[in-house]
């Protein structure tokens, strides 16, 4: 026993070193890099990069635009999620399955493609909706311009809505209804109860959704890149990218100096977020006994509200995929018509896959998804075991390190990795991308595995020991089978994230290590919308296939439902 315990804590030590290298090393390199004279002059101390980065007169405009973009889209997504969560959990709105579709499906559509699809619909020169409206009403000018701050906020807000919803809906569902009922008993109406009791009690969850939204939007690159750059709306992520973009005059030092602030803000916000979620859980788990849903009757608002939700589902789920599919078949942007359907062909598909770089990108992305997810899950297994089961001394540190990467803005940490990899032979290789992916997306593996380990109550292992099985048999016949569903979902989650990865890739990818997202971006830059759409549909199809596979495998592997305990 004593021996076993000592070995777990030394294993924990090894894990801390590995995870530390993965998460702290890029941060450290970012910090050193920001004080260095250049990528090839690492360690040559200078403050010039900070001076240059922070004295640029354009920075103020970028910072203001970033603030408007981040706060605007976060408020929009949280408000939308709040309304949706309330409608689903607390009212008698019909067809509630629609809310699950709204909460899950948008996450299967990569941000890059979602942004592109909105560009295809609402761009001012030939956006399908714009053209259709101009034809219908004989307008001179396109009514919408998605290449604007408003367009960015709209699209980013829709993208982040599911995240906010997944935080708010459980909090609302497990909300102790008696708190509201007592307010009603003491004479407050529905509205007053909502404002005075419901929302204040939900405050930690709402704040958590807001904070997480800010962190994610600050790191968001797809929307600013696809919708912001054509309209010359620059935010921090695109501004940083321009500093390091090859072809201009890349300055990784300045980018690192500026990135330090973004990183500091993100890490601080994630700390706040973790506090808030801990508080949410406290609020939520207090009740549970005697819980029962009391629904608010919507009356004559029931169907209009349902129609609004249905429209939203259409706009968020169906429209983006449909427009990509449509664009991949028509020769150029044209409003759907008999003529358009007559001209449909596989031309873009054939061209997209005749392009050797597309094929390379697809191969690379598949490799990164499969190998990366396998490596990531293997590492996550050990981390989850150490943090949940062994609870040895370093477990807290390990957990903090793991979740540190959750707060990293992709571009910034990509710059950190760049500083690191340039000093090594793995620079510009697929391995560089692999390491970056695993480090940045580690929480996606650790989360499901940690909860899988929590499911395995110690008594389940102990009863196997008492029944006469040794440690190895217990592991093989009890622990592993119980973990398999968690392993499968962690693997699928990581694989889908890696398949679509954009932000790290734009920094680390070089000729030869292109991935699907960078290739799609290249098509976008060249205005090759048809080829882009074909490649995008392939990306969505693989992601969706993986998710469906996970659901089937998961259902097959979980015959017994919840574990004892």
């Amino acid at each position: 026993m004593a021996v076993a315990r000592r070995s777990t804590s030394s294993a924990t030590l090894v894990l801390i070193v590995v995870v530390g290298l993965l998460t702290v090393a890029p941060v450290a390199m970012l910090a050193f890099g920001s004080f260095s004279a250049g990528l090839d002059r690492f360690g040559e101390f200078t403050l010039a990069k900070y001076v240059a980065a922070y004295s640029d007169p354009a920075l103020l405009r970028v910072a203001l635009d970033t603030a408007v973009f981040v706060l605007g889209s976060t408020l929009f997504s949280t408000l939308l999620a709040l309304v949706l969560a309330y409608l689903n959990t607390r009212t008698d709105i019909p067809f509630k399955f629609l809310f699950n579709v709204l909460a899950i499906v948008p996450m299967m559509i990569p941000h890059l493609l979602f942004s592109v699809s909105w560009a295809l619909l609402l761009n001012p020169s030939n956006g399908l909706i714009n053209v259709a409206l101009m034809q219908a009403f004989g307008l001179e000018q396109a009514p919408f311009d998605v290449y604007s701050m408003g367009g960015m906020i709209l699209v980013e807000g829709l993208l982040n809505m599911p995240i906010a919803y997944l935080i708010l809906a459980p909090a609302m569902a497990s909300f102790d209804v008696s708190l509201e009922e007592s307010s009603r008993v003491f004479g407050a109406g529905v509205w007053r109860t909502l404002v005075r009791v419901t929302l204040p009690v939900l405050r930690p969850a709402i704040l958590a959704a807001l904070v997480l939204g800010v962190v994610r939007t600050l790191a968001s690159y797809a929307v600013p890149r696809v919708l912001g750059m054509p309209g010359r709306v620059e935010v921090l992520a695109t501004w940083l990218y321009e500093m390091i973009a090859t072809g201009f005059d890349p300055d990784y030092g300045q980018a690192a100096a500026l990135g330090m602030s973004a990183l500091a803000i993100s890490v601080a916000l994630i700390v706040v977020y973790r506090r808030l979620t801990a508080e949410t859980e406290r609020f939520v788990t207090v009740s549970g006994r005697g819980w029962r849903a009391s629904t608010v009757a919507l009356g004559r608002w029931r169907w209009p509200l349902f129609a609004a939700v249905a429209l939203l589902s259409f706009v968020v789920v169906v429209l983006p995929v449909a427009v990509l599919l449509y664009t991949s078949f028509v020769p150029y942007a044209m409003v759907p018509s008999a003529e358009a359907f007559a001209q449909m062909s596989w031309r873009h598909w054939i061209e997209a896959f005749e392009d050797p770089i597309s094929r390379l990108a697809l191969r690379n992305s598949l490799f990164l998804a499969v190998v990366g997810a396998t490596v990531g899950v293997a590492l996550s297994l050990f981390i989850a075991y150490a943090t949940v089961k062994s609870r040895s001394r370093g477990a807290g540190l390990l957990e903090a390190l793991t979740f540190l990467s959750f707060s990293f803005p992709g571009i910034v940490i990509g710059i950190g990795f760049m500083w690191l990899f340039v000093q090594t032979p793995i620079y510009a290789t697929l391995t560089a991308l692999l390491i970056g992916y695993v480090a940045t997306y580690l929480p996606y593996g650790v989360r499901p595995l940690a909860s899988a380990f929590v499911q395995v109550h110690p008594h389940l292992e102990e009863s196997s020991r008492v029944a006469g099985a040794g440690a190895a048999t217990t592991m093989r016949r009890i622990v592993v089978p119980l973990l398999v569903p968690g392993v499968v979902s962690a693997w699928i989650l990581m694989a889908t994230m890696f398949l679509r990865e954009l932000t790290l890739s734009v920094v680390l990818s070089r000729p030869g290590s292109e991935v699907l997202a960078t290739q799609i971006l290249a098509f976008a830059d060249d205005g090759l919308w048809g080829k882009l759409s074909a490649l995008g549909i392939v990306m969505i199809a693989i992601s969706t296939g993986l998710v469906v596979l996970a659901a089937t495998v998961g259902a097959r592997l979980r015959p017994g439902g919840a574990a004892a305990g």
């Binding site: 026993m1 004593a2 109550h457 008594h459 389940l460 102990e462 009863s463 196997s464 020991r465 008492v466 029944a467 006469g468 099985a469 040794g470 048999t473 016949r477 009890i478 089978p481 119980l482 592997l557 979980r558 015959p559 017994g560 439902g561 919840a562 574990a563 004892a564 305990g565």
Partner: protein, 361 residues
């Protein structure tokens, strides 16, 4: 099989403080008896059970099951759990959710590499014994709490262990099911006739199920004895109070006269049954409510007659629970529903010296 525990000690560190979970425990559990470890939570009873089964390693001491020493700190013996040949029912039942009922019960036989035919036979026997036939193919966690409990029991006994251990097996059931399951368990254990060690904090379970009870407190065994011995003849205030409802009254022992002790108490002068060894001076008197037969009125003065007034009355179904005030002392009593009493009424009762238990510790 007999279980011997000698000088068992186990410490653990909690929030920087060292806590003694077991503080020198000696036990001798006779073969083929149902032995209960009873005590409040945190008294060390579960730790003791887990040391016997091998899921915890004691710091010091020796444990023998039958003739096999399974743990000895002096001789450096620590037989791993799986080699001890025991059966156990866990508080959470620990039913494996990824297996059917059959697979759960068959598991101990499979890890012992029994033949298929033997497994089928023994599992069927075990499930018949716990009256759980026809659910073999069901997923075990889809069963009700009471049924899961029986799966756990079938699994514990299927490999014919030398000893079965129970860690608060009824605490997860609701009150009605708990009573039913307890009765079923009484019958199963009676029929099995093997050594069972049973951990609980519920005194009714302990009294109803056990051949012997060891009452534990703060990592030590306070008293060991038959349920009757523990209930009627407790030696310590802690055990008398823990095992049943008790009125504990300060008293002074004046003298011993034949089979009786002369006592001054808050209830007045009393004669109590003699308990050896006699110690004169400070003591505590334990009077159980069921031995106080309250009668209306003052009653004639007589030896061992206690007089007072009804302070409160509560109807709890089978009887009234009365609080009786005697001077500054409040006594809890039970009264038969046919005796008509009202709050404020004068009442008295005669205390049989045999039911007047003196405690010195």
């Amino acid at each position: 099989m007999r279980i011997r525990v000698e000088g068992l000690r186990k410490h653990y560190v909690s929030e920087g403080r060292t806590v003694a979970a077991l503080d020198g425990v000696d036990l001798d559990i006779p073969a083929n008896s149902i032995f209960t470890l009873l005590g409040p939570s945190g008294c060390g009873k579960t730790t003791l059970l887990r040391c016997i089964v091998g899921l915890e390693t004691p710091d010091q001491g020796e444990i023998a099951i039958g003739d096999d020493v399974v743990f000895s700190s002096k001789r450096g013996i620590a037989v791993p759990t799986e080699k001890r040949g025991l059966g156990m029912v866990f508080q959470t039942y620990a039913i494996w959710p990824h297996m059917t009922v059959f697979d759960n019960v068959a598991y101990p036989l499979r890890v012992r590499r029994a033949s298929k035919a033997r497994i089928a036979q023994k599992v069927a026997d075990a499930l018949r014994f716990v009256q759980l036939e026809g659910v073999e193919r069901r997923s075990a966690t889809r069963l009700s709490g009471g049924q899961q409990q029986r799966v756990a029991l079938a699994r514990a006994l299927v490999a014919e262990p030398k000893v079965i251990l129970f860690d608060e097996p009824l605490s997860n059931l609701d009150a009605k099911l708990r009573e039913e399951t307890r009765k079923a368990l009484e019958r199963f254990l009676g029929e099995l006739g093997i050594t069972a060690v049973y951990v609980t904090h519920d005194r009714v379970e302990a009294l109803a199920l056990s051949d012997s009870i060891a009452v534990m407190r703060a990592g030590r065994i306070v008293e060991i004895g038959s349920p009757q011995r523990i209930y009627f003849d407790a030696r310590t205030r802690f055990v008398a109070d823990f095992i049943g409802r008790a009125n504990l009254v300060p008293a002074t022992v004046r003298a011993a006269e034949g089979n009786e002790l002369v006592v001054d108490s808050a209830l007045g002068p009393l004669r109590c049954a003699r308990r050896d060894p006699v110690r004169l001076g400070e003591a505590t008197l334990c009077i159980r409510p069921e031995f106080m037969h309250l009668r209306p009125g003052e009653g004639e003065p007589a030896p061992n007659r206690v007089r007072g007034r009804i302070e409160s009355l509560a109807f709890v179904g089978e009887f009234y629970e009365a609080q009786m005030r005697v001077g500054d002392t409040l006594l809890l009593a039970r009264t038969e529903p046919e005796v008509e009493l009202r709050v404020g009424d004068a009442v008295h009762f005669a205390l049989d010296p045999a039911h007047c238990l003196l405690l010195w510790q």
